[in-house]
Amino acid sequence: MKKAAAALLCAALLLTAACSSQAFEFDEDAAVSAAKDVIDLVYVLDFDAIYGLFREDVRELVTAESLEAAIAPIMDQSGAFVEHKKAQAVAHNDKQFGEIIIVGVQTKYENETLTYTISFDRDFNLVGLYIQ
């Protein structure tokens, strides 16, 4: 039983270490601020501006129209912006996009709280936008 407990503790420590290590150094405040700028554009439904923030290679994968089709119905239901609640950013080496910074932001609206997962490259070009 003691061996099993020790093994579990080691596994938990390894997991914690793996989760907490950043892939590279970055300015977390700047990343969160850039993410909040994207969220502002989402709120005013400026899909051309959001499209313009995407990195060139990613622009080939999306269009302003496809962004509108995916995002507008979510924003229609969410209501007026209230406040940003929590924000957190991590650095990650991605197979497809290379070195990226992923920012999670919880934003409260009148009707619901949305969680944004927004990814940037090291020059803060947008490479990913996910809303749930």
Binding site: L15, A18, C19, A23, K86, A87, Q88, A89, V90, H92, I102, G104, V105, Q106, T115, T117, Q132
Partner: protein, 235 residues
């Protein structure tokens, strides 16, 4: 295969098959029916009411968990697999220890069919019914693959139930630990294959192979019990 026949076959495999197996094996034995219901209730309570809402809550409310899932896909798959094994095998052990009174092969078998049966009904049977009522464009082959996977899973659940039942019956922890480790392993490998982009048939072939491995264990336990009964009869 066209969609409607595929949906009907899927309903037969995911709803009618487990009910038929339980009805055939129980044959009016109320204790056996209760054991099957307890198996189903174990999945419903420990997965459907506890684990799945917990994972959903973490995935929508915890930024750390969301970012962890994005940046550590392998560890994330491990966490999901460990939690599934913990809730399902832990639940199975608790229910068998506290509420099941008979520990014969048939009881373990029928408990597993109840567990796997309610899982296949909730995860595939109900969505299939919804598809029949309001049809959507969907590949018939894909529907059949999901039905086949539930049948493989049901056999695997029977084996896990027998393992845990051996553990409860003999008061030895090994069966529970083996079920926990194998449950984690099969879920983890399945998820890694999916995350790595392997085609769906490769994933299903892996689950099929694992099902045959577990079928070997079911046959072994059955033969062991038959031998024991023969020896007792001879004595």
């Amino acid at each position: 295969m066209p969609q409607l026949p595929a949906l009907v076959v899927t309903l037969l495999l995911t709803v009618a098959l487990p009910f038929s197996v339980i009805a055939f094996m129980a044959r009016g034995d109320k204790a056996a029916i209760k054991t099957a219901l307890l198996g189903g209730a174990t999945f419903f309570v420990f997965q459907y009411l506890l684990r799945i809402p917990l994972i959903r809550l973490l995935s929508s409310q915890s930024l750390s968990f969301i970012l962890f899932s994005q940046t550590q896909p392998v560890l994330y798959a491990l966490v999901l697999s460990l939690s599934a094994a913990l809730f399902e095998e832990g639940g199975r052990y608790l229910v068998m220890r506290r509420l099941v009174r008979r520990y014969a092969f048939r009881d373990g078998f029928i408990f597993g069919v109840g567990h796997g049966g309610i899982e296949s009904f909730l995860l595939v049977g109900l969505p299939t019914l919804a598809l029949i009522i309001s049809p959507m464009e969907l590949s018939g082959a894909l529907v059949l693959i999901s039905a086949a996977e539930r049948v493989f899973a049901m056999v695997i659940h029977v084996a896990f139930s027998l393992m845990v039942m051996q553990s409860v019956k003999n008061r030895r922890i090994f069966g529970l630990l083996a079920a926990f480790a194998l449950h984690t392993l099969v879920n983890f490998i399945t998820q890694i294959l999916q995350v790595s982009g392997y085609p769906v048939y490769v994933v299903e072939l892996f689950i099929l192979g694992f099902m045959f491995f577990m079928l070997g264990y079911i046959i072994y336990i059955r033969m062991k019990e038959t031998d024991k009964m023969k020896k007792e009869d001879a004595a």
